[in-house]
């Protein structure tokens, strides 16, 4: 065989190198590729396929077309759980406001400020099961800490998580206790604002509110968007605290979608119907995230 001309040798060497590069690159990310296919892509597809069946794991699945989705649209408990999930998601704006307010309080160099930061973050480092059992007792109508404190002000507090009206507000209030990660993210965002901006504004006679509105808010608006998107996704998945504290009660007033999916899938073994519900949750999350991204273009300020 004739020896290769220099150009071809270089070219094929280059091709081999490029080929190698691709191989090496994919070899490194292979664990994730497998994980993605196995634990994300396949299950999303498979759960749609399962949702077209009636299946209790004991007998073979029966193909029922879209019957589970028809059933879902007529299932009052599905609508209850959907509304309850949206109700619970009201905690997100409250959490955002509190986290930003705390971050602003913490954004100064007072002595002991690090201790304050640590203490305000601490609940977020606490296991959710621990939070749930502690707050179950906190909310006890007679000897819980919350009503004891109300008692000091001579107010007779409600039965909180044992009351149909107050159970969801109680869960929302509790969720304000662990805003740590959000607070830390805001704090980092605030630290990026040069103090010169505020000093200049103050010299121009801008009020504290105007400074907040015209300097702080625009600068942290991308951080608000990020926290908003991530926290809504988390709020839609809320499970452990409600499972432990109320089990969805009283009178289904705290039955959220994640809990309802769990019951159908793992308590009653309705795999088909649970998959239809899971798809509903997936579409809801996906749709809301996209909607927020769209709307955000109007209020998020990018430098």
């Amino acid at each position: 065989m004739a020896p290769l001309s220099p150009e071809i040798a270089v070219a094929s060497g280059w091709h081999r190198q490029a080929y190698r590069r691709v191989l090496v690159g994919y070899a490194f990310i292979l664990p994730w590729v497998i994980g993605f296919l196995l634990f994300k892509a396949y299950p999303i597809g498979a759960s749609f396929y399962i949702s077209l069946h009636q299946w209790d794991l004991l007998k073979p699945p029966i193909y029922v077309e879209f019957e589970n989705y028809v059933r879902l649209s007529r299932d009052p408990l599905f609508w209850t759980s959907l509304l309850n999930t949206l109700y619970y998601a009201l905690c997100v704006p409250l959490r955002l406001v509190l986290a930003l307010a705390l971050a602003m309080l913490l954004n100064r160099s007072w002595p002991g400020i690090n201790a304050a930061r640590a203490l305000l973050y601490l609940p977020s480092a606490t296991p959710v099961a621990v939070i749930a059992v502690v707050w179950t007792l906190m909310y006890h109508p007679t000897f819980g800490a919350v009503n004891t404190i109300f008692g000091y002000a001579a107010i007779r507090g409600p039965k909180w998580i044992a009351s149909p009206e107050w159970a969801m507000p109680a869960l929302i209030f509790m969720s304000l206790w662990y805003v740590g990660p959000m607070m830390v993210i805001f704090l980092a965002g605030l630290k990026g604002i040069p103090s010169v901006l505020y000093e200049a504004a103050a010299i121009d006679g801008a009020s504290a509110w105007n400074q907040f509105k015209n300097i702080t808010l625009p600068v942290v608006s991308p951080v608000i968007l990020l926290n908003l998107v991530m926290d809504i996704i988390l709020a839609f998945q809320v499970f452990a605290s409600i499972y432990i504290m109320t089990g969805g009660g009283p009178m289904n007033r705290t039955l959220v979608l994640a809990l309802y999916i769990y019951q159908h899938a793992f308590v009653w073994l309705n795999m088909g119907y649970a998959s239809a519900l899971a798809w509903g949750l997936f579409l809801l999350t996906f749709g809301l995230t996209l909607a927020q991204m769209r709307v955000s273009k109007r209020w998020v300020f990018y430098q």
Partner: protein, 293 residues
């Protein structure tokens, strides 16, 4: 008045506006101290209940400082259920899973940060997008896979996925960190004839110690706290984790709140200690994912 802040508490960074005097500082300080007190209160309540005798539990008005403190509650609570067993289970799962989380995320993070191959950036967006998929949307088929493999009621469903970089945040942390490592380190190793794997193992992994610490901390807290997956995959008593054991105690012993709280204190303690020791890493990790995500 107020121009000279004698107490040394004048803020260097201003957020609420111009300093108008110590009056404003005092107001802000009051807010801050009240916030801290409110946030600490549930912990105090938990600890105080954990140290009560059954007779003191139902006293109205509530006693904030139990006298005498019933320290033996911790022993009694811990032994009322096989909590030592649960602790061993939790630690086993956590250790195996942390190793997987760190290794796989570092490897994948290196691939995304330092290697060039077609489709890399698109795939990275896919990785970030998977953070938005609710766990309930994928749990049923995943459960069925484990069921088919006979893995239900074993630790495998809780540990094996960690080896496949399933938590996008960890990969993201490693990628961001490795992007900051200067090119020269890599080139020096390449000139010495090191393969990409050697570059990763000998150069990037040792230089990424802060990222390793951050991911290991997050992973520990995640697996120590995880409730949903152990609930689904572990059903026999001897396989349960600490948080599952804790909630088992809740339903059955309504009159044993003091023991429940004493166990809650013990379970929360490792997380609190890990957080306080690694606070810097936590804050860096949260900030990095938050601001550059």
């Amino acid at each position: 008045m107020g121009v000279l802040s004698m107490n040394g508490s004048a803020p260097k960074t201003l957020t609420l506006g111009h300093v108008t005097g110590w009056g404003r500082d005092l107001l802000l300080l009051t807010f801050l101290v009240s916030a801290v007190l409110i946030f600490v209160l549930p912990f105090i309540f938990m600890l105080s209940t954990a140290l009560k005798l059954p007779a003191q539990l139902y006293k109205v008005p509530l006693e904030w400082i139990p006298n005498p403190p019933a320290w033996h509650n911790f022993v009694e609570g811990w032994t009322i259920r096989p909590f030592s067993r649960f602790a061993t289970n939790t630690l086993t799962i956590a250790m195996v899973a942390i190793l997987g989380d760190v290794l796989s995320s570092a490897l994948v993070g290196f691939g995304f940060a330092r290697l060039q191959f077609p489709g890399r950036d698109a795939l990275f967006y896919v990785l970030l997008a998977t953070a938005m998929i609710p766990i309930q949307a994928t749990i049923i088929p995943v459960f069925l896979i484990y069921n088919g493999l006979g893995w239900i009621n074993t630790f495998l469903p809780l540990t094996v996925p960690a080896y496949f970089a399933v938590r996008p945040m960890y990969v993201f942390l490693f990628r961001q960190f490795m992007l900051t490592i200067p090119q020269e380190y890599e080139e020096a190793a390449r000139i010495d004839g090191a393969s990409p794997l050697q570059v990763f193992l000998r150069v990037f992994l040792p230089l990424s110690k802060p990222a390793v610490a951050t991911v290991a901390l997050f992973s520990f807290v995640y697996h120590w706290n995880d409730f949903f997956e152990p609930l689904i995959y572990l059903n026999s008593l001897e396989k349960k984790t600490l948080v599952l054991g804790l909630t088992m105690l809740q339903g059955q012993y309504d009159e044993f709140w003091h023991l429940l709280m004493s166990v809650a204190v013990i379970i929360a303690l490792p997380c609190v200690i890990v957080f306080l020791l690694g606070m810097r890493h936590f804050v860096q990790g949260v900030t990095l994912t938050g601001l550059k995500g």
